[in-house]
Point group: D3
Chain length 268, copies 6
C-alpha cells in the first residue's frame, strides 16, 4: 500500500501544510495540487461538493504526490465509507461530542475487528495498491472535530477512544459555541483559550492536533504552539482574495475616472 | 433588452476591467462575479470549458450585474451562435487574419440583413428580455483577435469591416508570431511595438482596443495608452497565485524544519 | 443580508405562490424563475435532484428575485446544513412526527445558541451578503411537513417547538397515512378533514400553513381558507401537462388518419 | 436494424408529430418521451445542448418507441457523424443554401460509396441492432433546413441532391431572411408564401416537407397543406407556457390582495 | 404496473443472473444492459455512484427489459426512498444486523400501512406505469445483506420480519467478520459454512437467497446449492479483466523485445 | 517538459501497446490506466466523449505514467488545439486525404513558426511542466489517419508533409472505402493489401505506422510486420466482451433450466 505521507511526516515531528478544496472542478483541484501542499482535503461539509462531484477531484490530486483527505458533512456511515473507498487517506468528521461519537467514527473507518467498515475499496486499491486491505487500518488517519461545548467537556474520553489519530479544530464553530463571532485566527479570548486547551490535551494523549486557519502567518504560529496539521483558507478564498486584490488595484488606479458597472460584494 | 453596460462605459470614455473564466465550475464563476469586475469572459479556447460546461457559468455571472462575454475556440459558426443564444453580450474570436475572416465573424453574430445569425435566443431572451431580437444587433459587441503576422498586415481592412466593434490582443500569441517568447506585459521589443501599432490603428478607426494582461499594474498602463478593455490573468491564475503565495510563506516559515512531501511545480 | 421576501409577504398577510423544481437542469430552473413565482423549491426528496445537481438550480433561481427554498429528502443534518450553505432561504423537511423531530430540525437550521448549525455559508454569503451570519437565524424559514398519523397526533407539541416557522402539508402522503388514495386537491373525506385540522392548529399557534396543490384553482381556495404558502404541481408536471395537451390536440385532429407510432403513457 | 418508424409512417401517407428537446436533462426528456410524440429531436443548435449533454437524452428517449432525431448546430462533419453514432435516426441541418451544402450534408450521413461517414456506430448499434451498417444508409433520414434567401433560390438543385429525404422549415429564420419578424405560424405575408413555395417544390420532388410550429392548431393546418413532419414548440416552451398559465391564474385570483415578490418576465 | 420479472422468475424456480454497475457512465450501463443479464444493480455503496450519477444508469438500463435494482450505501431512509422513486424494482441494503434493522428497511420500502415510504414515484411511474402506487408494495423486492456476526446471530428474527423478500450475502465482508480474508467464491472454511447456514435458514423461511460471486463457475455452483439470485463480479472488474488479458497477451508476445513504459498494477 | 515516452520507445525500435477510451467516466479511464498500456487514446470521434467529458479522463490517465493521446472527431482546429491544451501528447486525426489536409493538421498542432497553434497550454503545463512551450513542438506526436481511397492515392505527398510523425490506419473505414465490409484484423483481400501498402510507404519515409486491431493476436502480427503503434479494441468492447463471456457461461450452465428474462443483443 502506498504509504500515508502524513503519518511519516508526523512521526518525524513535522507539520503538514494542508490545502482545502471546495470548488467542484477537477481542473481547479489539479491546479491546487501543484502548489506545494502536503495534503489536500475535499470538503463535503461546507464546500460545494458531494460524493459525485468529489471523486474527480481526488483523481486530480492523485496526479501528484499530495495526500488526499476528506471532510464529511456529518457523522453518517454511508458517506464516510464511500470517501474511503474513493481513495481518501484520512477522514475529518465534524461535531464529535462524545466518546460514543468518536467510537462510531472510528468503527466506520476501520475494517473488523476494530471497526465495521464494509469492504469494497474500489478506487482506494487503484490509488493505494493491491495490499490495501492489509494495511488500511494502519495507514488511514481519523480526525475528530472538536468544535462544541460538549466536545470540549468530553475531550478526554474522546481522546481515549482507540484508533483515533487526530483532532481537528474548526475555530469558527468553536467560537460560536462559546458565544463569540465565527472567525479564524483567534489571538485571544474564549476561543483561543479553548484552542490551547484542546491542543494541550490532544498532544498529552499522543494524538496529532490540527486546526483551520485564515492566514499563513497564523498557521505558522500554530505550528510553533504544537499543531502538526494546519489548513490555510480554501481554494475559493484564494481565488476571491487574489481576484479581489487585482480588482482593487485596478479600481484604485482608475478611481479618478470611473465607477465599476458591477459593485464589489463581500465573499465568505 | 437589458443594455450592454460595456457599450455605455466605452461611450463615456471609460475602460472595462475584465475577468477571465477558465475553471469549469459555476461556483467559482459566481465567486469571481462578486469581486467587482465590469465583465467576465468565459474562455472556450484555452479555458477548460466547452458549451455544455460554460452555460452554468453564464448563469452564475447573471446572478450579478457583471456583463458576460465569451471567447470562442475558433472561427466556427456553430459555437459562436450557441454562445450568443446562451446570453453572452460579446464574442471574442481568435486568429482573425483578414477582412474575410472578420466579415464571417460579424455575419455569425448579427441577424439579417447584416449577418446570418440564426434565430433562437433561448437563454439570451431570459437574460436580455423580450425585445432581444430587436436590439441584439446593436447591443452585442464583437472583438476580433489580432495575434498573427497576417492579422497585423491586414489590420486596416479588418478594421474596415462594418459591424466590428473592437480588437482584442493576445500578447502571447502575438509574441510567438513575431519570433518572441509567449508572455504578457511586454514593456519593449517587437511585441510591444505591434501592440502600440494595433492600438493606434484601432482607435484611429474609432473601434475599441482590448488586451490581455498579466498584472493590474500593466493593465493600468495600457488604459493610460488608450485601451478600453483590459483583462487581468484568469481565475486559474488567481487561484494558483494566491495558493502559491500562501504555501511559499509556509515553506519559508518552516524551512529550517522540513521539506514538503509533494514538490511545488510551475503552473501556466 | 438580503431580506427573505417570504417573511415580509407573510407579515403583510399575503400568501406565497411557490413553484416546485424536480428537473435537474439549471436552464429549466431559470425558465421557471421567470414565470412570476414568489418562491421556488428545489425538491431533493421526490425530485430528480441531490446536492450536486441542485446547486446550479439555486444559481439559476438567483438570477431573479425569486426566493429559493429546498425540500430535503429526510431529517438528516448533513443535507439540511448543506442546502442552507448553498443559499436556500427556507427548508421543508418531510415526515416530522414529534416535538423531538421538530427540535432536531430547528437545531440543524439555526446557529448556536438556538441550534447547532455548523458555520460555513459558502454560497449563502454570496447570495445573502456579508452579514449573513448575524441575521440568518432570523431570516431562514423552517417548514415541518405533517403527513402522518403520528404527525397529526403530536401536532400541538410540534407547533410549540421554538424556532419553527411553518407547517407544510403533503396531501398525498397524508391521504395514504389515513387510508385514502395518494392525490392532491382533496375536497372532502379524511384527508380534507386532516388538512383543515392542521391549518387551524397551525394558524392558532401563529405559524404559517403551507400546502402542495395540483391546480391553481384549488390553491386559491386554500389561500381563502388561510394557507399562506401554496405550491402548484411541479416543473415536470407542467412540462408533461402542456406537452400532453399539445399531443392530444394533434392526435384528435389526426384521428381519422393515423395512430401514433409510440403510445401515450401516464406520467406521475 | 430497428426500422425507422418515420419512414413507414411517411410511406403510408401519415404525418409525424415531432417534439423538441432543448432542456439538458434526461429526466425531462424521458418525461417528454411518454407524451405520445412520434419522434423527438434533440436540438443542438438553439437548445441548451451539446454532444455530451445530448447523449443521455437519447438514452431517455430510447426507453420508449419514440424515434430519436437531432438538429445539429451547423453543417460540420464532426458533430453530424457523432450524433448518428449516438443513435439518432435522422439529422436536421440548418442553413442549407446550395446543392453543394446539401451534398456535403448527405455525404456526412451516408457510408461509402454514397458518402464518407466514418464507421463507428458505438451507441447506434446498441439502439439499432447488429446489422446497423448494412441498413443505416437506407433507414437514416436527412433533413435540409431551407431558411434563407439563397436556400429558396437554390431549392430545386438542393432537392435534386441524391440521398436527401426531407426539407425542414424554420419559419423564424425564414421570416428574418425575407425581412419580416421572427415568429412561427405565419398565416400570410412573404414568409407564408415562401413556406407554400418550399412545400410545393419539395413534395413535387417526392421528398417529405417538415416545419416548426408554435401551436397544434397551426401544425394541423400544415398537415392539411401537405407537410408530413410537424414540430410543435419545445420542451422549454411547454414548461414556460404551463407554468405561466398557472401563475397567471394565481395572480388573477389574488390580484385584489397582493403583488408578486418577483415580476413575470417574457420567455423565448 | 410493469411486472417485476425477478418475482416471476423466482416463482417458477429459476435463478436470476445479476450484473453489477459501479462505473458512473450511462453508456457503460447501456452496454452492460445488452449482455443478457436478468437484472442489473446500481451499487451506491462501493460503486463510484451516488443518486445524481445513478439516475442516468437506470434510464440506460430501461432501454432494455433488464430489471433494475440498487444497492444503497447504508440503511438511511433518504437514499432508499430516492432510489425507489427513481424506478428501482429492488433494494439491496448492507449490514442488516437485527430485526429492528430489517423492519426499518422494509418500512422505508413499503407504502403505508406496512411502511412509511413517502409518495412521489417521479420516475418510477414513467418506468412502471400509472398504477405504480397500487402494486409497488407487491412488486418491489427487498434484500437484507447478512454479512456480520450479528447478522448471522440474529438471522432467524431478521427473516421473520414481514415484507422482507430476500437475503443477499456479501462474501468479502462476511469473511472479514469471521476473521478470514475478504474474497469471493469460498470453497471451504468459516465463510463457506456461514454461507451455507444463511442459505439454509433463508430458504427454509421461504425467502430468496442471493450471493455475490467472482466467477460464473462459482455462481453456477451456488445456484446448484439453492441460491436464486447470483451476481458475478462488476462492470469495472469485467473491464479490468479483459483489458488485463489483452495487455498480458501483448506483453507476453513482446517480452523478448521490450518492457512496458507504464507498469501493470493490481486492481480491486 | 515531461518526455513523451512513445518517442523514446519508437526510437529504440519498440512498439507501443495502445488502449482506447470511449466510455465517458474518469473511473473507467483510471481502471484502464492501471492495466499496463503504454498509451491511452481518448476517442472523440466515435467514442461517447467530447471535450468536456474527456478532460477528467485525461486527469485519470495522468495518475499513472501512461501516455495520453486523443483522436479528434474531424480536422477542425478548435478541438485539435483544445485537446493539446488539455495535455494530450499526441493527436490522431481522421480522414486525411491530401497534403493540404496533413499540413493543416500539422499547423494546428505546432506553435509558430512551423504552425499556428495558439498559446494557452492550461492543463498541458500542469502535466508537462513549465518548459512546455519550448519543447512541445518536438514532443507532441501527430498521426494522420489514412482510411479512404484519396488518402491512399495521395499517400506519398501526405507523408512528405514536414512535422507529421505517424500514420494511423482505421481498418473498418479503409475496408468500406475499398468496397469491403467494416471489420478489423484483415488477413487478406483489398483492405489487407492497402494496409501493407500504407505500412511500407510510411516506414520507407521514416514515419511510424499505427493500426487499430480487434485482437492481441492480430496486433502482435502487425508488430511483426513493422507497425510500432497498435491499438486493441476499446474499453467498451472489453467490458462487453467479458460481461458477454460471463453471461454466456451462466446461460450455458443454466440452459436446461431457464431462458433469460432479457435477451442477449449484439454490441458494436
Amino acid at each position: 500500500m502506498r504509504p500515508n505521507a502524513l503519518k511519516r511526516l508526523w512521526a518525524s515531528g513535522g507539520a503538514a501544510v494542508n490545502g482545502w478544496l471546495s470548488i467542484p472542478s477537477s481542473f481547479a483541484a489539479e491546479t491546487m495540487a501543484h502548489q506545494g501542499w502536503d495534503s489536500l482535503t475535499v470538503d463535503l461539509q461546507h464546500g460545494v461538493l458531494d460524493y459525485g462531484t468529489a471523486v474527480p477531484l481526488l483523481q486530480a490530486v492523485s496526479t501528484t504526490p499530495v495526500t488526499p483527505l476528506a471532510r464529511v458533512p456529518w457523522l453518517e456511515e454511508g458517506i464516510v465509507m464511500k470517501m474511503l473507498d474513493a481513495g481518501c487517506y484520512g477522514i475529518i468528521c465534524p461535531m464529535i461530542e462524545s466518546a460514543a461519537d468518536a467510537d462510531r467514527l472510528v468503527r466506520a473507518c476501520r475494517y473488523p475487528p476494530r471497526g465495521r467498515r464494509s469492504f469494497g475499496p474500489i478506487r482506494a486499491t487503484l490509488y493505494g495498491g493491491a495490499d490495501y486491505f492489509l494495511k488500511a487500518n494502519e495507514e488511514i488517519v481519523i480526525f475528530a472535530m472538536i468544535e462544541t461545548r460538549a466536545g470540549i467537556d468530553n475531550l478526554e474520553e474522546i481522546l481515549a477512544v482507540p484508533g483515533l489519530d487526530a483532532v481537528y479544530i474548526g475555530p469558527a464553530d468553536l467560537a460560536i459555541a462559546l458565544g463569540a463571532m465565527p472567525q479564524f485566527d483567534h489571538e485571544k479570548g474564549v476561543a483561543r483559550e479553548a484552542i490551547e486547551f484542546i491542543l494541550r490535551k490532544t498532544t498529552e494523549r499522543g494524538l496529532v492536533a490540527g486546526i483551520h486557519n485564515g492566514t499563513a502567518r497564523y498557521a505558522l504560529s500554530m505550528i510553533e504552539l504544537g499543531f502538526q496539521f494546519v489548513t490555510i483558507a480554501s481554494d475559493a478564498r484564494h481565488l476571491a482574495a487574489k481576484a479581489g486584490e487585482v480588482v482593487a488595484e485596478m479600481r484604485n488606479g482608475l478611481k479618478r475616472d470611473q465607477a465599476p458597472t458591477a459593485p464589489v460584494k463581500a465573499t465568505y
